[in-house]
């Protein structure tokens, strides 16, 4: 009797009470995103136009794909500083193939494959040599960039193949093909993280690798797949990018790795591993993008853009840290 009574009491206690503070911290990035959206809509009549929205999504399609995969890397407790370099290599290989073969699908299709291979290389190095991913990918990014420079011979590879720009510039029903590619890629990553055995392993490996190992999870294999996916995403993004500018440039991806980490962290995924979500990273990318868009629409000094983005990232991360402490 007392037993049963006790349980009901505890159940009532355990029922989650709505707490405004916790809600704000949990959904900080979405609230910020909504506020910026409202502000832009009020301040600039040209913001909520079909053209502007489609443009923002199109411009950010490569970064959205990279950040969606980057979420896995951060949740697994790692960093991938080589995505920018992989993007460069994949784009250059694609351009070189286009010039050499004049085949659009072969050349654009090569980029994801190059990305996948380089990502797998990263994962293998990290797990076999037991090097921290931060160092391993910092080093591999230098190697990859050199490869890209060697392929181009230090210049640009200009592509004139007919139809090569299909992925970057063409539209279907007024919407860029790149956006469709991005939506599909992001949806796959989202499902992968939330619904699959693999996604669960990524959380476990990032949260407590020893517990994961004792639970029968192949920790190294999980890490290799995470880095392979990250490389693959960079390759897909590179295919969009190279198709858009119709030229292979070794340094075209420079800085993407940091933009991706910034977006993932701004979204609320913890760099300590074990916690995070793909939707958070999407919101992170879009928030940074909208701030940039706002500067353009309202003719603000573009030199201040980065500083404002930096302040917002600090605020969001600080807020999350304060929330953690309270628990």
């Amino acid at each position: 009797m007392t037993e049963a009574a006790n349980t009901t009491v505890t159940q009532m206690r355990a029922r989650k009470r709505f707490s405004f503070g916790e809600f704000v911290i949990e959904y900080a990035v979405v609230i910020l995103l909504a506020l910026v959206l409202i502000a832009l809509a009020v301040l600039s009549p040209s913001f909520f136009t079909f053209g502007n929205i489609v443009n923002i999504l199109n411009q950010n399609a490569p970064l959205l794909i990279i950040a969606a995969a980057g979420t896995f890397v951060i949740i697994s407790g790692n960093f991938d500083l080589s995505v920018g370099a992989i993007y460069g290599v994949a784009g250059v290989v694609s351009a070189w193939l286009a010039v050499a073969t004049d085949n659009v699908w072969l050349s654009l299709g090569a980029a994801p494959i190059v990305g996948l291979a380089l990502g797998a290389f990263n994962g293998t190095v990290i797990t076999r040599l037991k090097v921290h991913s931060f160092l391993a990918t910092l080093a591999s990014s230098m190697i990859f960039t050199t490869i890209a420079v060697l392929i181009t011979g230090g210049t640009l590879i200009t592509v004139t193949t007919a139809g090569f720009t299909v992925l970057g510039r063409d539209r279907v029903g007024g919407i860029f093909i790149a956006i469709f590619v991005m939506v599909v890629a992001v949806a796959i990553f989202w499902v992968l993280l939330t619904r699959t055995v693999f996604g669960r392993k990524v959380f476990a490996v990032g949260g407590n690798p020893e517990a994961a190992e004792l639970s029968g999870i192949h920790v190294n294999r999980t890490k290799i797949i995470v880095f392979t996916l990250s490389g693959l995403a960079a390759g897909v993004a590179a295919a969009i990018g190279v198709s858009r500018i119709a030229s292979g440039q070794p340094l075209s991806g420079a800085g993407l790795e940091l933009s991706s980490i910034a977006a993932v962290v701004l979204g609320g995924t913890s760099i300590y591993g074990g916690v995070g979500a793909v939707w958070r990273s999407l919101a992170g990318v879009l928030l940074i993008a909208l701030i940039g868009n706002g500067f353009d629409l309202m003719n603000l000094n573009p030199q201040l853009k980065d500083a404002v983005t930096g302040v917002i990232i600090l605020a969001a991360v600080g807020l999350a840290a304060a929330g953690q402490k309270k628990r």
Binding site: R15, K16, R17, R195, V197, F198, A204, G216, H218
Partner: protein, 509 residues
């Protein structure tokens, strides 16, 4: 009620409330802590005794109510302010810098300095402090080389170096041997006699009865009793903690399997480079087998090697009729060999993830089609285990790190059971677990044995093995030195064998 001299009150709590997420951890607690008194907080895991200690030490801030120090309420309260007011905390997980020496740790942050340059007088200051308490610690020893009991002394000295008037000790005894526990009790009494106040958060009621002057009993976040220790007995404490009478501590041992049943696990002359020299034993289906030995005897190391965490150097292991060497934990789990490790924080649970995800973690593939998790089935299974094991609060979506130690342990057991083991290795399954949860775990052990699962049990509380196991092996210095039938042997005999020096080569192979 006699009103004590108010000047002796260091801390007074009034109507304190503390919430974690939606859980009410402290509900309207009002309490006085006096100097020169050992004040014990007891209660089941999750009752709020630890939280209460942490509110006093400034680790947590109260959501409602007031904390008054020396009669005046504080508006801001954190560990730094608490230390300034002479209140320090010794946490369950010690917070020392392992690579610094004892003296450096003791005076860390309170070094004497001249214009920012540390003065080289640590040893003299240490000697002064040591003269007062007489712990007999070597000031130059590295903390990482000390035993946990000595590390605790360093923590206590550290508090004293900061002129602590009140020391909050959160479950300080959970990783100590019986002798070390007695030593710590002596220390507490010593500190008390110097006029220091001590808050002793513990679930060792025997120990509490030995040292406490005042006892506060917590249950479900509420203070159910706060009285001088003379007014309570161990029995009345348990009744107050549980809100009901305690049933018999141990359930009945299940029937032993037929001795002719072929063993499920056979270990012969196992040797590892982690401290196992020569161990041989076997376990039959449905049998509960204990390994009796002291901490550091090689019990845990042996089982880690069998499960596949550490490599085997020599010897033979057969599981379920198959040679079991060079296997990884994932092979073991797949074949039906489960392992519940002794340290749930280190290698047991992923604290940030929910109870549901933790329970599911070792058996993900069994609830997935083409790599996609069948969410509904997972929820149902996890809820099933959480309910059977009486996980409280019964919300499996909360991060497991938010739960109390006993409930975390239940989640860990749930994870092992969800993988449907044929043989389950339990390494200290009741460590840091309160009376009520212990009984639940014992019943579980008996139930799974009745279902035909073999159980290999390690416990520092030898009584558990003596009461539950069908057979037990004595382990000393990495060797199995004998086999006993617990129902026919007394704990005294076992301890006698374990502490006796056994000549080399007398192993029970």
């Amino acid at each position: 009620m006699a009103v004590p001299a108010t000047d002796s009150v260091i801390v007074e709590l009034q109507n304190v409330e503390k919430r974690f997420g939606g859980t009410l951890a402290l509900n309207d607690v009002s309490l006085q802590i006096r100097r020169g008194e050992v004040h014990a907080f007891v209660g089941e895991n999750g009752a709020g005794k630890s939280t209460l200690g942490k509110v006093i030490a400034g680790i947590y801030s109260a959501d409602r109510g007031t904390v008054a120090i020396d009669g005046s309420p504080v508006d801001r309260w954190n560990p730094g302010l608490a230390q300034q007011r002479g209140i320090s905390m010794i946490a369950q997980e010690l917070a020392l810098v392992p690579d610094l020496t004892v003296a450096q740790n003791v005076f860390l942050g309170v070094e004497d300095h001249v214009l920012g340059f540390a003065r080289n007088n640590l040893l003299e200051r240490f000697a002064e402090l040591e003269a007062e308490v007489g712990f007999g610690l070597d000031p130059k020893a590295k903390v990482s080389e000390l035993r946990i009991a000595d590390q605790q002394k360093v923590e206590i000295l550290r508090s004293l170096a900061r002129n602590a008037r009140l020391v909050v000790m959160d479950e300080p005894t959970s990783s100590l041997t019986a002798t070390e526990m007695k030593q710590l009790e002596q220390l507490m009494l010593q500190l008390r006699d110097r006029g220091c106040g001590i808050i002793y958060v513990s679930h060792f009621l025997d120990s509490v009865m030995r040292v406490a002057d005042h006892v506060t009993v917590m249950r479900d976040g509420q203070m159910v009793k706060s009285v001088p220790a003379q007014q309570v007995t161990k029995e009345t404490l348990v009744t107050a903690m549980l809100g009901r009478e305690l049933e018999q501590a141990y359930p009945e041992r299940p029937t032993a399997p037929d001795p002719n049943t072929p063993p499920l696990l056979e270990v012969r002359e196992l040797r590892t480079d982690t401290g196992v020299e020569d161990m041989s034993f076997d376990v039959r289906p449905g049998e509960i087998v204990g390994l009796l030995g002291l901490v550091g005897s090689g019990r845990t190391e042996c089982l880690r090697a069998v499960f596949g965490v550490d490599p085997m150097v020599d010897g033979e292991v057969r599981f379920d009729g198959r040679e079991w060497r060079g296997k990884k934990p994932r092979h073991s789990i797949e074949a039906g060999l489960g392992f519940v490790s002794e340290d749930r924080h280190k290698d047991g649970l992923v604290l940030q993830r929910s109870v549901r995800e933790n329970i599911a973690m070792a058996s993900l593939a069994s609830r997935a089609s083409a790599g996609i998790i069948r969410t509904r089935e997972e929820k149902r299974d996890a809820l099933g285990f959480a309910t059977a094991l009486e996980v409280r609060p019964p919300d499996i979506e909360l991060p497991v790190g938010w739960f109390s130690g006993g409930n975390q342990q239940k989640a860990l057991l749930g994870k092992a059971l969800a993988a449907k083991p044929k043989l389950l290795i339990l390494d200290e399954p009741t460590r840091g677990v309160d009376v009520g949860a212990k009984r639940t775990i014992y019943e579980l052990i008996v139930r799974i044995a009745e279902e035909g699962i073999g159980v290999l049990l390690i416990s520092s509380e030898h009584e558990e093995i003596m009461e539950l196991a069908h057979r037990a092996y004595l382990v000393s210095e990495g060797r199995t030195i004998g086999e006993i039938v617990p129902s026919e042997t007394s704990v005294e005999d076992v301890l006698f064998s374990l502490f006796n020096v056994v000549p080399k080569g007398a192993s029970a192979a």
